[in-house]
């Protein structure tokens, strides 16, 4: 049984196959065709919907999500808002009215998704401003990119959409008369729908504890694990696989920890990117800036760091950073937990150290000690929502003019995310000199034999990775010699504004 609300109205669905997506549910079962399918892979945003979840203070907080790869069973206890739910009769929501007035739709196919991304931005702004969104300053480019980077438009070139985003806050807030605004106590009713329903024989399981999880896996060995579903669901939509039985990992308290300990940060494997992003902002700003270019807002609100790690893709953006930070992983199994350095987790292409019964429990990131630096640089064809051709994550400290504990981790250079051991050795205990880095670049060439694929040629990957080391040298040199700059000779620019680290 899935109890949720759709545009303010309670819904209760029974007997829905576990691998039904929200998009399929909307378009084929609920006859709500405003939400479009553009790619069925979470890349275009035409299917964007808003998911409202109780914030524990009597309010609903909304985030955007891709309905095409969102399991319908994950709607339980949520308020699903679609483009049909915003206008009240002929009165448009500010996000809609601004889109019309700014001439921000042409063919209109991406428009419902863009309206929903603007709606979630508006709701967040309304919340931040105490329901006085008109008092807010214009959005920063970064905020707009975060909100709209996952919505492709092929017609407009985005300028009028940018204008609409900036303009919508100025519309009278009382125009925010979505159809379901009138329904009082919606948040309470939504929260209520999250309560357990009677056991109904569904093949979509929601264990609440590790013990329950291990029992389920023992009894249902063919069931697949799902958290954010942002990768698993591609098997459903792209390979047309049937996923007859699923175990949802999002309700396990053990996998939802987000704790700052003396030694470091503990992140449960099922914590979404959106949830830990603010923590990273404070402690690992270089990692946090990478996250702005990691997929889209829609994905970051569903996807988990645990998924990114356990998936073990050679081009995942998270793992190289974990390697550079000397992170460790906690693997939970029926026999107990074990902690493993991240670098021992990735064995071969898509092969990990996870035992058959084990799941990834936590990712543990040690704090960066004073003086220790982290840089994360991602190279891709498009700045937003693209997969890396090469990702470099570098960590080091400079002691008495020499580099110590150098970590040079890369994605896209090998079958697994990996450290460049030869290049690390070439820099260890060396000053950040051109000669040392030349040796490191030389060594790097022996560390990796990257493949050529759709995202880049082998030659490009080698050259780009080597050049990232040169960029690293320049960053170290310019940051340590900053005081020497006179006002008339501005510091040398090493990276572009849009890629600033």
């Amino acid at each position: 049984m899935i109890d949720f609300h759709l545009n303010g109205e309670p819904q209760s669905l029974d007997g829905l196959p576990p691998d039904t997506s929200v998009l399929e549910l909307l378009r084929t079962r609920l006859d709500a065709t405003g939400t479009k399918e553009g790619c069925a892979s979470g890349d275009c945003g035409a299917c964007t919907v808003a998911i409202g979840e109780p914030d524990g203070h009597g309010n609903l907080r909304y985030h955007s999500a891709n309905a095409c790869i969102l399991p319908a069973h994950q709607l339980k206890g949520c308020h699903l808002v679609t483009v049909e739910g915003l206008a009240k009769g002929d009165v448009l929501h500010p996000a809609q009215a601004a889109m019309v007035d700014c001439h921000a739709s042409q063919c209109g196919f991406c428009t419902p998704g863009i309206v929903m991304s603007l709606f979630t931005l508006y709701e967040a702004s309304s919340h931040e401003s105490g329901s006085q969104p008109a008092t807010l300053a214009p959005y920063s480019q970064a905020r707009l990119e975060a909100a709209l980077g996952g919505n492709l438009c092929r017609c407009t070139g985005y300028r009028p959409i940018r204008d609409a985003a900036q303009a919508m806050l100025a519309y009278p807030a009382d125009q925010r008369c979505v159809t379901w605004d009138a329904s009082e106590h919606l948040a309470a009713r939504v929260a209520e729908s999250a309560q357990d329903s009677p056991v109904d024989g569904s093949l979509y399981h929601r264990p609440k504890s590790l013990a329950e999880l291990f029992a389920l896996r023992r009894d249902h060995p063919s069931a697949r694990l799902v958290a954010g579903a942002t990768d698993l669901w591609l098997e459903r939509t792209q390979q047309l696989k049937v996923l007859p039985e699923l175990i949802d990992l999002r309700n396990l308290a053990e996998l939802q920890v987000l704790e700052e300990h003396d030694q470091g940060l503990h992140i449960g494997a099922a914590v979404t990117y959106a949830r830990f992003e603010p923590v990273f902002e404070a402690h690992f700003p270089a990692f946090s800036r990478l996250l702005h270019r990691f997929a889209s807002s829609q994905i970051r609100h569903r996807a988990t760091l645990g998924g990114n790690v356990a998936n073990a893709s050679p081009i995942g953006d998270g793992p190289p950073v974990l390697l550079a930070l000397d992170a460790s992983l906690v693997l939970e199994g029926p026999e107990g937990a074990r902690e493993l350095p991240a670098q021992e987790f990735f064995l071969d292409y898509r092969q990990t150290a996870l035992g058959a019964q084990e799941v990834l429990g936590e990712i543990r990131l040690p704090w960066l000690p004073e003086g220790r630096q982290l840089k994360v640089w991602k190279l891709s064809k498009r700045r937003e929502d693209d997969i890396s051709a090469v990702l470099g994550a570098f960590s080091w400290q400079l002691e008495e003019g020499r580099l110590r504990n150098v970590r040079l981790a890369f994605g896209g250079m090998a079958a697994i995310p990996a450290r460049a051991r030869g290049a690390e050795a070439a820099l260890e205990d060396q000053p950040p000199s051109p000669a040392a880095f030349a040796a490191a670049r030389q060594a790097l060439d022996n560390d990796f034999k990257p493949l050529s694929d759709v995202r880049g040629s082998s030659a490009y990957r080698r050259l780009a990775a080597a050049n990232l080391l040169e960029r690293l040298r320049l960053k170290i040199v310019t940051s340590t010699s900053q005081g020497a700059n006179t006002p008339n000779t501005p510091a040398m620019e090493v990276t572009l504004d849009a890629y600033a680290d």
Partner: protein
């Protein structure tokens, strides 16, 4: 004042007069369309009407094909695609497909009762493979099932055995072997060889220009319902309903009048639904007739990208002689279009590339050769610009190369080469009109963009910045407007006025987001003096307006606007004659005294004024037995092209524009960003400034994607690797330049009698994006030793940019790309 009010009219919509002055193209004012953007308020220009579906778009109420309610018993179709690029189909066992759950019908080549070849102009496009497989993704069979998923899963069950043969994937090699889908065409003006022999300098270069996936957000889709007798009704996302009608009829072996095709709107087209929307309608029609059930077919994104053709990749080279001022004297240009496996529209596309090999510059005594190479890939097809962009890229590369050779600013060289009096004839013999327009436009843009100040700033910056380099470029556009297939330059319209005064206009054009229906309604409202809200378009239907041309070549508003206007004028004349004879017979009024304005028919003034509301007039005319339905027709005058002689006037007029783009490039990573873009574009007297600005901006960004991030990749066996948005990257929100100033050129109505002296706007702005690529080369040139301008093929991904830098550093001045020292030696000798 006498006002005729005696006729009692029940139905006269009160809002009909409310915005009657809203359509006044003469008040078109780009500044107001532009100037009000920042606060997001509605543009106050009355012609800047919102898109007719804007509110439906934002509320999700606009319906696309897959949103149409499923008719009872509708079947879903999926296709079986060839896994290999070239070979012979040895065995196709579909019994396992038939055995899959929910399957109702499976069809192949052998089940087609009528034509099996659906080539739009020339034969060569089999609906299904019979024996020979010509590209990976080619359609082998179709399966119809009770659900979309059931059909797709069933399609995977086929047993396919293919005798695989080597795939031909290199268009240059194909052209050398004369493996062409159509014969080579040559245009020549004067003695090109002599112009090279006599030139002070010879500059030469070559380039590879990548293709482009349309990536319309709504994939190919149709819904076909069997109708009475032997016919079908086809709902399709389609730029060319009449051609689909023809092909469906021919495939079924029935008369055209048994097929009705309807298009309400597309979720994007861009050329990708001109010829390549028809196969799916034909297949669904076959299934619908065989099963007597409605059949719907929508391609998944991956199948869409594998099955359908793209913008043609081009390999081009040039060799031009210039004088000491960098002015072209003549030369030789060769364009090889990669057409894929069949002709499709490639004859006309490579022609248009050749017609634009001059862009805005006088070529002197030149030869332009266009080859149509065959490769084992999907048949490349129409895409915004239709070959024009690829043609322009070559001459724009030449401009930069000449400038760097002679040590001049590229803008100086471009300006010196512009068409001007005495140098005003194209290499295909058309005289260029409005000769001063482009000079004026570039002058204004140079000034508004601070080109020269920024040039100095950028030079100074680059001199002190070893890693980050900036680049700047101004490139113009001169784009020929008209179908080069002369017969397509015609349009029809059908205007109905109902007795409540509401107006329905149908025309042959289709709405793909470009605002065509909005503009056509504006034309009719203007001619009838009505509020825009009283004029509506239902859908484009082949049973309303027959034998239409595709909505393509930027011609939609030019052709259909004129046809609609013709219909409106016909109806207006009828109503005027009726009024003179029956309403005000004693007033001594002449036709010229009457006008339709503000929802009224009016004549005279003061004491001698006559008035009747539109609703009353229509009711009176109906009672008076006047036909309230009119047809309109238009055919473009003046145009002709003699392909034998390669001379003529293929274009009714040219549309112009120019853009200045600035980029910053990271020379260590190849990453770059477009920091500022200034555009000034010529749309004559705008029909709708808001829509026109939207076309300019959208076209520019789409063009930028083509030249930067959108990379099509195939593996060595010819299988498309970039088959979805995860691997094929169209511009995203953050690619919008931080500063993006877009203005319409004012005060230059079309010199030809186009609809209200406006100009076509769909395609021309696409090519403004060449300025981005040129600016990237400009930034790279700052890193090059000795005044080179490095070769930069496209899309200029960060990889290509980085590798271009590496090539310069590796080879130093040994192999200066895009600029041959041998030619210098020739000159010195």
């Amino acid at each position: 004042m006498r006002t005729l009010t005696k006729l009692s009219v029940a139905a006269s919509s009160p809002d009909m007069a409310s915005e009657a002055s809203s359509v006044d193209a003469n008040s078109a004012d780009s500044k107001s369309a532009d100037g009000k953007r920042v606060d997001g308020k509605r543009v106050d220009n009355k012609a800047a009407q919102q898109h007719e579906s804007a509110i439906k778009h934002v509320t999700g109420r606009a319906t696309y094909i897959d949103d149409l309610p499923a008719p009872a018993k509708a079947l879903h179709i999926a296709l079986g695609l060839s896994p290999v690029a070239h070979g012979r189909l040895e065995r196709l066992d579909l019994d396992p497909v038939r055995a899959m759950p929910g399957v109702v019908d499976v069809i192949t080549f052998h089940d087609v009762p009528g034509h099996t070849d659906i080539g739009p102009v020339f034969p060569g496009d089999p609906l299904f493979v019979e024996n020979e497989i010509s590209y990976a993704g080619q359609c082998l069979f179709a399966v119809a099932a009770e659900s979309h998923d059931a059909a797709r899963r069933a399609a995977k069950a086929a047993i396919i055995e293919i005798d695989e043969q080597p795939a031909s994937l290199d268009p240059v090699a194909a052209a050398e072997k004369n493996d062409l889908v159509r014969p080579t065409h040559v245009q020549q003006s004067g003695d090109w060889q002599q112009s090279l022999d006599n030139a002070r300098h010879i500059v030469s270069g070559e380039q590879f220009i990548g293709g482009q996936e349309h990536f319309y957000l709504e994939g190919q889709a149709c819904l076909v319902t069997p109708s009475e007798d032997e016919g079908v009704v086809v709902h399709t996302s389609n730029q060319h309903p009449s051609e689909t009608q023809k092909l469906v009829a021919e495939v079924l072996g029935i008369a055209f009048h048994a097929v009705t095709v309807e298009v309400r709107r597309m979720g994007g087209g861009f050329g990708g639904k001109e010829t390549q929307a028809s196969p799916w309608a034909c297949i669904a029609a076959l299934i619908a007739r065989r099963t007597q059930r409605p059949a719907r077919l929508r391609l998944s994104r991956g199948d869409d990208m594998r099955l359908t053709g793209k913008r043609h990749p081009f390999h081009s080279r040039y060799r031009l002689g210039v004088d000491d001022n960098g002015v072209i004297q003549g030369g030789d240009m060769t364009l090889i279009g990669d057409c894929g496996y069949s002709p499709d529209l490639s004859e006309a596309i490579v022609d248009r590339a050749m017609f634009h090999a001059d862009n805005a510059y006088f070529l002197g005594a030149a030869r332009v050769t266009g080859h149509r190479a065959r490769t084992h890939t999907a048949s490349n097809t129409a895409f915004r610009g239709f070959g024009g962009p690829q043609g322009m890229m070559l001459i724009e590369q030449a401009m930069d190369d000449i400038a760097h050779r002679l040590g001049e600013d590229p803008l100086t060289i471009r300006k010196r080469n512009l068409y001007r009096p005495g140098r005003a004839t194209t290499h295909y013999g058309q005289e260029v009109e409005q000769l001063d327009l482009l000079h004026t436009l570039i002058g204004q843009l140079e000034s508004s963009s601070d080109y020269w100040v920024r040039r100095d700033e950028i030079s100074a910056y680059n001199a002190r910045s070893p890693i980050i380099r900036r680049g700047l470029a101004l490139t113009p556009v001169k784009f020929g407007i008209s179908f080069t297939a002369k017969h397509l330059n015609q349009a029809g319209a059908l205007l109905h006025v109902y007795t409540d005064g509401s107006v329905m206009i149908n025309h042959g054009g289709t709405e793909m987001g470009q605002g065509l229906h909005t503009k056509v309604c504006q034309v009719v409202a203007r001619e009838l003096g009505l509020a825009l809200s009283s004029v509506r378009i239902s859908a484009t239907r082949t049973d309303k307006v027959p034998n239409t041309s595709p909505t393509a070549a930027s011609s939609g508003a030019d052709l259909n606007g004129q046809a609609a206007r013709d219909a409106a004028l016909t109806l207006r004349e009828r109503l005027f004659a009726f009024a003179l004879e029956n309403l005000w017979p004693q007033a001594g009024l002449k036709l010229d005294d009457l006008q339709l304005k503000d929802g009224m028919l009016m004549a005279g003034s003061g004491e001698e004024s006559y008035r009747i509301t539109w609703g009353e007039l229509v009711q009176a005319a109906y009672i008076g037995r006047v036909s309230l339905s009119a047809q309109g027709f238009y055919s473009t005058p003046l145009i002709h092209y003699d392909r034998e002689a390669a001379k003529g006037r293929p274009f009714y007029y040219f549309a112009y524009g120019a853009a200045v783009s600035e980029v910053a490039v990271d020379s260590l990573s190849g990453e770059y960003q477009v920091t500022r873009v200034d555009i000034l574009h010529d749309v004559g007297d705008s029909l709708n400034p808001a829509i026109d600005i939207g076309q300019i901006e959208g076209g520019f960004i789409q063009g930028m994607g083509w030249l930067t991030s959108e990379e099509l990749k195939w593996n060595d066996a010819g299988r498309l690797l970039s088959d979805g948005p995860a691997t094929y990257k169209i511009p995203a929100f953050g690619d919008l330049p931080a500063t993006f100033n877009v203005e319409l050129l004012k005060g230059h109505p079309n010199s030809q009698a186009s609809i209200y002296r406006s100009k076509a706007v769909g395609e021309p702005p696409f090519m403004l994006a060449i300025s981005v690529w040129s600016a990237l080369r400009d930034a790279l040139a700052s890193l090059a030793p000795g005044g080179q301008c490095p070769r930069l093929d496209t899309p200029a991904t960060p990889e290509r940019v980085l590798m271009a830098i590496a090539a310069m550093q590796d080879h130093g001045d040994k192999h200066p790309a895009g600029n041959s020292r041998e030619d210098d030696a020739h000159v010195q000798a």
